[in-house]
Symmetry: C2
Subunit: 185 residues, 2 copies
Protein backbone atom coordinates (compact mmCIF):
# COMPACT_ATOMS: atom_id res chain seq x y z
CA UNK A 1 0.00 0.00 0.00
CA UNK A 2 1.65 3.17 -1.26
CA UNK A 3 1.78 6.18 1.03
CA UNK A 4 2.81 9.82 0.96
CA UNK A 5 3.34 12.08 4.00
CA UNK A 6 1.96 9.22 6.08
CA UNK A 7 -1.28 9.31 4.12
CA UNK A 8 -2.41 6.17 2.30
CA UNK A 9 -2.83 6.73 -1.39
CA UNK A 10 -6.22 5.80 -2.70
CA UNK A 11 -6.85 3.10 -5.26
CA UNK A 12 -9.61 2.71 -7.82
CA UNK A 13 -10.90 -0.06 -5.63
CA UNK A 14 -11.29 2.22 -2.61
CA UNK A 15 -13.57 4.52 -4.56
CA UNK A 16 -15.54 1.58 -5.99
CA UNK A 17 -16.19 0.07 -2.58
CA UNK A 18 -17.28 3.40 -1.17
CA UNK A 19 -19.62 3.91 -4.13
CA UNK A 20 -21.17 0.46 -3.64
CA UNK A 21 -21.84 1.30 0.00
CA UNK A 22 -23.52 4.50 -1.06
CA UNK A 23 -25.68 2.72 -3.64
CA UNK A 24 -26.74 0.15 -1.06
CA UNK A 25 -27.64 2.91 1.40
CA UNK A 26 -29.54 5.22 -0.89
CA UNK A 27 -29.56 4.12 -4.53
CA UNK A 28 -27.37 5.24 -7.40
CA UNK A 29 -28.63 8.78 -7.05
CA UNK A 30 -26.91 9.15 -3.73
CA UNK A 31 -23.43 8.56 -5.10
CA UNK A 32 -21.81 11.99 -4.75
CA UNK A 33 -18.18 12.38 -5.69
CA UNK A 34 -17.98 15.26 -3.28
CA UNK A 35 -19.23 13.24 -0.32
CA UNK A 36 -17.13 10.20 -1.14
CA UNK A 37 -14.05 12.40 -1.36
CA UNK A 38 -14.72 13.83 2.09
CA UNK A 39 -15.33 10.35 3.51
CA UNK A 40 -12.14 9.02 2.00
CA UNK A 41 -10.19 12.09 3.04
CA UNK A 42 -9.27 13.22 -0.45
CA UNK A 43 -10.15 16.08 -2.74
CA UNK A 44 -12.73 15.84 -5.50
CA UNK A 45 -10.00 16.46 -8.03
CA UNK A 46 -8.25 13.28 -6.97
CA UNK A 47 -11.24 11.22 -8.04
CA UNK A 48 -10.80 12.26 -11.63
CA UNK A 49 -7.40 10.72 -11.80
CA UNK A 50 -8.92 7.27 -11.15
CA UNK A 51 -12.15 7.62 -13.11
CA UNK A 52 -13.31 9.38 -16.24
CA UNK A 53 -16.49 10.55 -14.55
CA UNK A 54 -19.22 9.64 -12.05
CA UNK A 55 -20.87 7.22 -14.49
CA UNK A 56 -17.71 5.15 -14.77
CA UNK A 57 -17.58 4.86 -11.00
CA UNK A 58 -21.15 3.59 -10.73
CA UNK A 59 -20.52 1.17 -13.57
CA UNK A 60 -17.48 -0.26 -11.82
CA UNK A 61 -19.43 -0.63 -8.57
CA UNK A 62 -22.30 -2.47 -10.24
CA UNK A 63 -19.91 -4.78 -12.05
CA UNK A 64 -18.39 -5.81 -8.78
CA UNK A 65 -21.83 -6.46 -7.31
CA UNK A 66 -22.79 -8.44 -10.38
CA UNK A 67 -19.88 -10.79 -9.95
CA UNK A 68 -20.50 -11.34 -6.27
CA UNK A 69 -24.26 -11.75 -6.53
CA UNK A 70 -25.03 -13.52 -9.77
CA UNK A 71 -22.13 -14.87 -11.77
CA UNK A 72 -20.62 -16.60 -8.75
CA UNK A 73 -23.94 -17.78 -7.28
CA UNK A 74 -25.81 -19.39 -10.14
CA UNK A 75 -23.76 -22.62 -10.31
CA UNK A 76 -24.88 -23.38 -6.76
CA UNK A 77 -28.52 -23.25 -7.76
CA UNK A 78 -28.02 -25.23 -10.92
CA UNK A 79 -26.55 -28.02 -8.82
CA UNK A 80 -30.02 -28.86 -7.49
CA UNK A 81 -31.13 -31.77 -9.65
CA UNK A 82 -34.89 -31.88 -9.17
CA UNK A 83 -36.41 -28.92 -11.04
CA UNK A 84 -39.39 -28.61 -8.70
CA UNK A 85 -37.04 -28.44 -5.75
CA UNK A 86 -34.85 -25.99 -7.63
CA UNK A 87 -37.86 -23.70 -8.11
CA UNK A 88 -38.72 -24.02 -4.44
CA UNK A 89 -35.19 -23.14 -3.32
CA UNK A 90 -35.10 -20.20 -5.70
CA UNK A 91 -38.46 -18.76 -4.63
CA UNK A 92 -37.69 -19.31 -0.98
CA UNK A 93 -34.35 -17.54 -1.20
CA UNK A 94 -35.86 -14.69 -3.11
CA UNK A 95 -38.80 -14.44 -0.78
CA UNK A 96 -37.03 -14.62 2.51
CA UNK A 97 -34.13 -12.36 1.80
CA UNK A 98 -34.77 -8.75 2.64
CA UNK A 99 -34.85 -6.62 -0.46
CA UNK A 100 -31.37 -5.73 -1.59
CA UNK A 101 -31.13 -2.02 -2.31
CA UNK A 102 -28.74 -2.60 -5.19
CA UNK A 103 -31.12 -5.10 -6.70
CA UNK A 104 -33.74 -2.36 -6.70
CA UNK A 105 -31.41 0.19 -8.20
CA UNK A 106 -30.73 -2.21 -11.04
CA UNK A 107 -34.39 -3.06 -11.52
CA UNK A 108 -35.26 0.60 -11.86
CA UNK A 109 -32.35 1.19 -14.21
CA UNK A 110 -34.27 0.54 -17.41
CA UNK A 111 -32.35 1.89 -20.35
CA UNK A 112 -30.18 4.12 -18.20
CA UNK A 113 -26.82 4.32 -19.99
CA UNK A 114 -24.91 3.53 -16.81
CA UNK A 115 -26.89 0.87 -14.97
CA UNK A 116 -28.89 -0.45 -17.94
CA UNK A 117 -26.22 -2.78 -19.37
CA UNK A 118 -25.52 -4.30 -15.95
CA UNK A 119 -29.23 -4.91 -15.49
CA UNK A 120 -29.48 -6.61 -18.89
CA UNK A 121 -26.56 -8.94 -18.17
CA UNK A 122 -27.84 -10.01 -14.77
CA UNK A 123 -31.38 -10.49 -16.02
CA UNK A 124 -30.32 -12.64 -18.97
CA UNK A 125 -28.29 -14.98 -16.77
CA UNK A 126 -31.03 -15.40 -14.23
CA UNK A 127 -33.96 -15.69 -16.58
CA UNK A 128 -32.15 -18.46 -18.43
CA UNK A 129 -31.73 -20.31 -15.15
CA UNK A 130 -35.44 -19.97 -14.43
CA UNK A 131 -36.40 -21.09 -17.93
CA UNK A 132 -34.23 -24.17 -17.51
CA UNK A 133 -36.26 -25.08 -14.43
CA UNK A 134 -39.45 -25.11 -16.45
CA UNK A 135 -37.84 -27.01 -19.29
CA UNK A 136 -36.64 -29.62 -16.83
CA UNK A 137 -40.20 -29.81 -15.54
CA UNK A 138 -41.12 -31.02 -19.01
CA UNK A 139 -42.81 -27.92 -20.39
CA UNK A 140 -42.44 -27.07 -24.09
CA UNK A 141 -39.92 -24.28 -24.81
CA UNK A 142 -42.48 -21.55 -25.53
CA UNK A 143 -44.40 -22.30 -22.36
CA UNK A 144 -41.16 -22.42 -20.37
CA UNK A 145 -40.14 -19.03 -21.72
CA UNK A 146 -43.52 -17.53 -20.82
CA UNK A 147 -43.34 -18.81 -17.28
CA UNK A 148 -39.76 -17.64 -16.86
CA UNK A 149 -40.93 -14.18 -17.84
CA UNK A 150 -43.83 -14.41 -15.40
CA UNK A 151 -41.63 -15.70 -12.59
CA UNK A 152 -38.95 -13.11 -13.12
CA UNK A 153 -41.42 -10.27 -13.42
CA UNK A 154 -42.94 -11.55 -10.18
CA UNK A 155 -39.51 -11.38 -8.61
CA UNK A 156 -38.89 -7.81 -9.70
CA UNK A 157 -42.40 -6.67 -8.85
CA UNK A 158 -42.37 -8.45 -5.52
CA UNK A 159 -39.35 -6.54 -4.33
CA UNK A 160 -40.52 -3.28 -5.79
CA UNK A 161 -43.85 -3.65 -3.97
CA UNK A 162 -42.19 -4.79 -0.76
CA UNK A 163 -40.25 -1.57 -0.54
CA UNK A 164 -43.34 0.35 0.42
CA UNK A 165 -44.47 -0.54 3.96
CA UNK A 166 -48.17 0.07 3.33
CA UNK A 167 -48.10 -2.08 0.21
CA UNK A 168 -45.93 -4.76 1.79
CA UNK A 169 -48.71 -5.60 4.22
CA UNK A 170 -50.58 -7.22 1.38
CA UNK A 171 -47.81 -9.69 0.74
CA UNK A 172 -48.88 -13.34 1.11
CA UNK A 173 -47.24 -15.07 4.08
CA UNK A 174 -46.39 -18.11 2.03
CA UNK A 175 -45.43 -18.60 -1.59
CA UNK A 176 -46.73 -22.19 -1.60
CA UNK A 177 -49.84 -21.48 -3.62
CA UNK A 178 -48.00 -19.26 -6.08
CA UNK A 179 -45.31 -21.90 -6.38
CA UNK A 180 -47.95 -24.52 -7.18
CA UNK A 181 -49.46 -22.27 -9.82
CA UNK A 182 -46.12 -21.60 -11.47
CA UNK A 183 -45.16 -25.27 -11.53
CA UNK A 184 -48.56 -26.50 -12.75
CA UNK A 185 -48.58 -28.75 -15.80
Amino acid sequence: MATRDGKTLLTRDDWTRAALDAIAAGGAGSVAVDRLATTLGASRGSFYWHFKDRAELIDAALERWERENTTDLLPELEAVEDPRERLRVLLKTVYEQPTDAIELTLASAGDDPVAGPAFARVTALRMDAVKRIFLDLGLPPEEAADRAWLAYALYIGHHQLGRNPAVAERRPETLDRIMELLAAR
Copy 2:
Protein backbone atom coordinates in the same frame (compact mmCIF):
# COMPACT_ATOMS: atom_id res chain seq x y z
CA MET B 1 -55.65 35.42 -15.85
CA ALA B 2 -53.81 38.01 -13.78
CA THR B 3 -51.00 39.96 -15.37
CA ARG B 4 -48.33 42.50 -14.46
CA ASP B 5 -46.31 44.61 -16.91
CA GLY B 6 -47.89 42.52 -19.67
CA LYS B 7 -46.47 39.35 -18.13
CA THR B 8 -48.85 36.55 -17.12
CA LEU B 9 -48.61 35.73 -13.46
CA LEU B 10 -47.94 32.07 -12.78
CA THR B 11 -50.28 29.78 -10.89
CA ARG B 12 -49.58 26.70 -8.80
CA ASP B 13 -51.10 24.75 -11.65
CA ASP B 14 -48.59 26.04 -14.17
CA TRP B 15 -45.72 24.74 -12.09
CA THR B 16 -47.47 21.41 -11.50
CA ARG B 17 -48.09 20.83 -15.19
CA ALA B 18 -44.50 21.66 -16.04
CA ALA B 19 -43.28 19.28 -13.34
CA LEU B 20 -45.46 16.45 -14.64
CA ASP B 21 -44.01 16.96 -18.12
CA ALA B 22 -40.53 16.76 -16.65
CA ILE B 23 -41.34 13.57 -14.73
CA ALA B 24 -42.77 11.97 -17.86
CA ALA B 25 -39.68 12.91 -19.83
CA GLY B 26 -37.00 11.89 -17.36
CA GLY B 27 -38.36 10.66 -14.05
CA ALA B 28 -38.77 12.54 -10.79
CA GLY B 29 -35.02 13.13 -10.60
CA SER B 30 -35.17 15.43 -13.59
CA VAL B 31 -37.52 17.92 -11.95
CA ALA B 32 -35.28 20.95 -11.43
CA VAL B 33 -36.80 24.11 -10.01
CA ASP B 34 -34.11 26.06 -11.76
CA ARG B 35 -34.91 24.65 -15.19
CA LEU B 36 -38.68 24.94 -14.74
CA ALA B 37 -38.27 28.57 -13.73
CA THR B 38 -36.30 29.31 -16.87
CA THR B 39 -38.87 27.48 -19.02
CA LEU B 40 -41.75 29.35 -17.43
CA GLY B 41 -39.89 32.64 -17.61
CA ALA B 42 -39.76 33.24 -13.88
CA SER B 43 -37.13 33.35 -11.19
CA ARG B 44 -36.41 30.45 -8.84
CA GLY B 45 -37.49 32.61 -5.95
CA SER B 46 -40.98 32.89 -7.39
CA PHE B 47 -41.43 29.14 -7.13
CA TYR B 48 -41.14 29.29 -3.35
CA TRP B 49 -44.15 31.51 -3.09
CA HIS B 50 -46.36 28.76 -4.57
CA PHE B 51 -44.69 25.72 -2.99
CA LYS B 52 -42.94 24.90 0.26
CA ASP B 53 -40.21 23.01 -1.55
CA ARG B 54 -39.40 20.74 -4.48
CA ALA B 55 -40.98 17.73 -2.75
CA GLU B 56 -44.34 19.45 -2.51
CA LEU B 57 -44.23 20.16 -6.23
CA ILE B 58 -43.56 16.55 -7.14
CA ASP B 59 -46.28 15.42 -4.77
CA ALA B 60 -48.80 17.75 -6.39
CA ALA B 61 -47.81 16.53 -9.85
CA LEU B 62 -48.20 12.87 -8.89
CA GLU B 63 -51.58 13.52 -7.30
CA ARG B 64 -52.85 15.01 -10.50
CA TRP B 65 -51.58 12.00 -12.45
CA GLU B 66 -53.17 9.67 -9.93
CA ARG B 67 -56.57 11.20 -10.47
CA GLU B 68 -56.33 11.10 -14.24
CA ASN B 69 -54.91 7.59 -14.45
CA THR B 70 -56.43 5.52 -11.69
CA THR B 71 -59.23 7.06 -9.67
CA ASP B 72 -61.12 8.13 -12.76
CA LEU B 73 -60.41 4.96 -14.76
CA LEU B 74 -61.22 2.09 -12.44
CA PRO B 75 -65.04 2.39 -12.62
CA GLU B 76 -64.79 1.71 -16.35
CA LEU B 77 -63.04 -1.60 -15.73
CA GLU B 78 -65.36 -2.62 -12.94
CA ALA B 79 -68.27 -2.24 -15.33
CA VAL B 80 -67.19 -5.42 -17.15
CA GLU B 81 -69.44 -8.11 -15.67
CA ASP B 82 -67.68 -11.36 -16.55
CA PRO B 83 -64.54 -11.65 -14.35
CA ARG B 84 -62.63 -13.68 -16.92
CA GLU B 85 -63.29 -11.03 -19.53
CA ARG B 86 -62.38 -8.34 -17.01
CA LEU B 87 -59.00 -10.00 -16.46
CA ARG B 88 -58.48 -10.25 -20.19
CA VAL B 89 -59.28 -6.58 -20.74
CA LEU B 90 -57.00 -5.59 -17.90
CA LEU B 91 -54.04 -7.68 -19.05
CA LYS B 92 -54.49 -6.59 -22.63
CA THR B 93 -54.58 -2.91 -21.74
CA VAL B 94 -51.57 -3.26 -19.52
CA TYR B 95 -49.68 -5.29 -22.07
CA GLU B 96 -50.33 -3.25 -25.13
CA GLN B 97 -49.84 0.19 -23.73
CA PRO B 98 -46.30 1.44 -23.97
CA THR B 99 -44.72 1.80 -20.57
CA ASP B 100 -45.74 5.05 -18.95
CA ALA B 101 -42.71 6.86 -17.55
CA ILE B 102 -44.66 8.13 -14.57
CA GLU B 103 -45.85 4.62 -13.82
CA LEU B 104 -42.21 3.60 -13.61
CA THR B 105 -41.27 6.51 -11.42
CA LEU B 106 -43.99 5.50 -9.00
CA ALA B 107 -43.03 1.83 -9.09
CA SER B 108 -39.46 2.68 -8.19
CA ALA B 109 -40.60 5.04 -5.45
CA GLY B 110 -40.55 2.51 -2.65
CA ASP B 111 -40.63 4.27 0.66
CA ASP B 112 -39.50 7.56 -0.80
CA PRO B 113 -41.14 10.25 1.35
CA VAL B 114 -42.41 12.13 -1.69
CA ALA B 115 -43.57 9.54 -4.20
CA GLY B 116 -44.09 6.66 -1.74
CA PRO B 117 -47.55 7.65 -0.49
CA ALA B 118 -48.85 8.19 -4.02
CA PHE B 119 -47.54 4.76 -4.98
CA ALA B 120 -49.27 3.17 -1.98
CA ARG B 121 -52.61 4.76 -2.79
CA VAL B 122 -52.58 3.78 -6.44
CA THR B 123 -51.43 0.25 -5.68
CA ALA B 124 -54.12 -0.34 -3.07
CA LEU B 125 -56.90 0.75 -5.41
CA ARG B 126 -55.67 -1.36 -8.27
CA MET B 127 -54.78 -4.47 -6.34
CA ASP B 128 -58.24 -4.49 -4.82
CA ALA B 129 -59.74 -4.37 -8.29
CA VAL B 130 -57.59 -7.33 -9.34
CA LYS B 131 -58.48 -9.28 -6.23
CA ARG B 132 -62.16 -8.72 -6.96
CA ILE B 133 -61.66 -10.39 -10.33
CA PHE B 134 -60.36 -13.54 -8.69
CA LEU B 135 -63.09 -13.49 -6.07
CA ASP B 136 -65.67 -13.21 -8.82
CA LEU B 137 -64.02 -16.16 -10.50
CA GLY B 138 -64.98 -18.13 -7.41
CA LEU B 139 -61.60 -18.44 -5.70
CA PRO B 140 -61.43 -18.38 -1.90
CA PRO B 141 -60.27 -15.03 -0.43
CA GLU B 142 -56.75 -16.15 0.49
CA GLU B 143 -56.15 -17.60 -2.93
CA ALA B 144 -57.61 -14.49 -4.56
CA ALA B 145 -55.27 -12.28 -2.53
CA ASP B 146 -52.25 -14.38 -3.51
CA ARG B 147 -53.08 -14.18 -7.18
CA ALA B 148 -53.75 -10.47 -7.00
CA TRP B 149 -50.25 -10.08 -5.57
CA LEU B 150 -48.81 -12.29 -8.30
CA ALA B 151 -50.71 -10.46 -11.03
CA TYR B 152 -49.78 -7.02 -9.77
CA ALA B 153 -46.15 -7.93 -9.25
CA LEU B 154 -46.20 -9.28 -12.79
CA TYR B 155 -47.52 -5.93 -13.94
CA ILE B 156 -44.83 -3.95 -12.17
CA GLY B 157 -42.07 -6.32 -13.18
CA HIS B 158 -43.27 -6.54 -16.75
CA HIS B 159 -42.92 -2.82 -17.27
CA GLN B 160 -39.70 -2.62 -15.38
CA LEU B 161 -38.23 -5.36 -17.57
CA GLY B 162 -39.68 -3.87 -20.73
CA ARG B 163 -37.78 -0.66 -20.20
CA ASN B 164 -34.52 -2.31 -21.11
CA PRO B 165 -34.37 -3.05 -24.85
CA ALA B 166 -32.14 -6.12 -24.51
CA VAL B 167 -34.37 -7.60 -21.83
CA ALA B 168 -37.59 -6.66 -23.63
CA GLU B 169 -36.72 -9.05 -26.45
CA ARG B 170 -37.53 -11.92 -24.15
CA ARG B 171 -41.08 -10.73 -23.69
CA PRO B 172 -43.71 -13.28 -24.79
CA GLU B 173 -45.70 -12.12 -27.85
CA THR B 174 -48.98 -13.11 -26.28
CA LEU B 175 -50.23 -13.15 -22.73
CA ASP B 176 -52.75 -15.91 -23.49
CA ARG B 177 -50.87 -18.66 -21.72
CA ILE B 178 -50.07 -16.48 -18.71
CA MET B 179 -53.69 -15.38 -18.61
CA GLU B 180 -54.79 -19.04 -18.56
CA LEU B 181 -52.40 -19.80 -15.75
CA LEU B 182 -53.58 -16.86 -13.65
CA ALA B 183 -57.25 -17.72 -14.16
CA ALA B 184 -56.82 -21.46 -13.51
CA ARG B 185 -59.08 -23.02 -10.91
